[in-house]
């Protein structure tokens, strides 16, 4: 038993994929994705997807790091166990500058990496697209477009002829195996 996931078409160059993506978008498809060996410059605009949201996670991480750094220094050197060093104030935002500077960067970096994972839905080791017999080539030199069955505009025959028209090669219906 298996269910249809989507129809895939292979393109041989970044240019072919780029042109095709624009046309798929203007045709009104919404549930589709390109699989490419490289980040294709300008493909986001072609596909109509906006800017990545990763910076929000970076900012959140950075702010957390900054306050964590400030807080540990204040708590440790001036609240929990006040340390007299050279008769200077117990706390000042100046002297622990390297500490919160580094923690801002550290937490922002974690925010960036985990934000990227979160937005990409990773780790996810099972995905229907892995069932494509030649999926491995998308990491090498082939460009794949998959229009999902879920797409409201999807129609077995129409979508097939449309992808062929765009110059897509080796059209394959990706099927997701379902365990009973």
């Amino acid at each position: 038993m298996d269910i249809k996931y989507g129809l895939s078409a292979t393109f041989n160059s970044a240019k072919d994929l780029y042109d095709a993506a624009g046309k798929i978008r203007s045709e009104g498809y919404t549930n589709w994705e390109c699989y490419t060996p490289i980040p294709v410059h300008g493909l986001d605009a072609q596909m109509g997807v906006g800017r990545s949201k990763v910076p929000l996670f970076t900012l959140a991480g950075g702010i957390t790091g900054f306050f964590t750094g400030m807080l540990i220094v204040w708590y440790m050197n001036s609240f929990d166990y006040p340390l007299i060093v050279g008769g200077k104030p117990y706390f000042s935002p100046i002297y622990p500058f390297p500490v919160f500077y580094e923690l801002t960067i550290l937490f922002a970096a974690f925010g960036t990496l985990f934000g990227m994972f979160f937005l990409n839905g990773l780790p996810r080791h099972n995905h229907p697209v892995f069932e494509h017999p030649n999926f491995g080539r998308t990491g090498d030199d082939r460009y794949l477009v998959v229009i999902e069955v879920e797409d409201p505009k999807f129609d077995d025959e129409e979508t097939k002829s449309f992808l062929k028209e765009l110059g897509g090669k080796s059209l394959t219906m990706i099927r997701e195996p379902v365990m009973n």
Binding site: S13, K23, S26, Y35, I38, P55, V85, A109, F110, V129
Partner: protein, 487 residues
Amino acid sequence: MVTRVGILETHIDMATLSETKEIDAQPEIMSKVKPAPWHDEPLVLNKRSFHWVTEKICGIVEGKTPIWWWWCFIIALFVASFTGMGLLYLVSTGVGVWGNNNPVNWGWAIVNFVFWIGIGHAGTLISAVLCLLKQKWRTSINRASEAMTVFAVLCAGIFPLFHVGRVWYAWWLFPLPNANAIWPQFRSPLEWDVFAVSTYATVSILFWYMGMIPDLAVLRDRATQTWRKVVYGIFSMGWRNANNHWRNFEMAYLLLAGLSTPLVLSVHTIVSFDFAVANLPGWHTTIFPPYFVAGAIFSGFGMVLTLLLPLRAVFGLHDLITQNHINNMCKITLATGSMVGYAYSMEFFIAWYGANSYEGFAFVNRAFGNYWWAYWIMVSCNVICPQLFWFRAIRENIPLVWIISIFVNIGMWFERFVIANTTLSRDFLPSSWGYYSPTIVDIFTFTGTFGFFSVLFLLFLRFLPLMPMAEVKSVMPQADPHGGKVH
């Protein structure tokens, strides 16, 4: 004015719309002045295909382990054992087995620490700073350099860790609750160092790992053995080359580059604070932070050349690491080497101009005092040697470039030796003067770190892709979605 708008329109058209209009973007003036054609060197030679790049890089990991690899690995492991034995002897006997003592309490431990940390800086410069500066040639050298960074920082970490004396209390460096109910003192540069170096190590590993995910996915998809599928599968996190993945990945990569840039500048700055915040003549100078950062990048590029030139020859990577790459690396070495030379002379000038007799003595003593030999090794390796890179013939002579890169490494080790030891051995009172020599344990422990570094680097070569395939491919002409048209 009209032509200007024309250019802008073409730009927007090309970037956002699927149909590209043919607009003559050439401003009129261009036909009059006839500019010389700008010739961009291709970054990948011999018009290689994407598939060739994949085969080349994956082939190194997937092929049979070469015999030379085993020989190098065994030798590296043997040398690494020196560090193991040195540290075992230190811990079981006591800190007295190292040569540092009053008045030179830092000795080789701090010298080696600063040396290794500095090596790491070139990797971050290549992966982060050159990324922000859109230097496309960085793509083929950044993975190996980042690996170098991570391993160099690990080697560096050994020294302060064991220099604390009772290594089992080293966790007191971190702000963790302990039985004495006291906390670290955050006014101390040594405490700042704990944060700087541990952040640097962590962020370098994150950056290195994140950049590797798409390549690990390629290895996963090509794998034939189960263990490879499983291991590369786990570490590639289920990456599937989707445009949405790339979109977030590229943004994250850019952000990490943006975060690593101030980080790398801060790390050696804070390392230099270990010296500059102390009130000792020869250390207490404001030039230290920029001078240390320039020196770190200089030494790091020396190490990058030392590592990459043999790799290029052994794995036949001449189409990916071209003469142009080597030229660029040589030029950066030359530029940073000149900055270091400038810093050396500026230190002398300020010591004289500042009219502080202790400061003046510290510098005269550096060049002509008890460690004069170390000073002149430093000057000849760091200031004179890299000046040879002004000449094209030398930059194109690969064995010579490699030898110069070794001299750079030696010179930069001596720089730290000179800074740490000349000042400590000759401070304010002649009654407290001394002379420092390393013991055999010092020498073995340090030599062993080269083995430790090599072991890690050889494992990296064997199991991980040594070049970021996706990044190398994206600077090739085939990656252009406009089919090679100027946009």
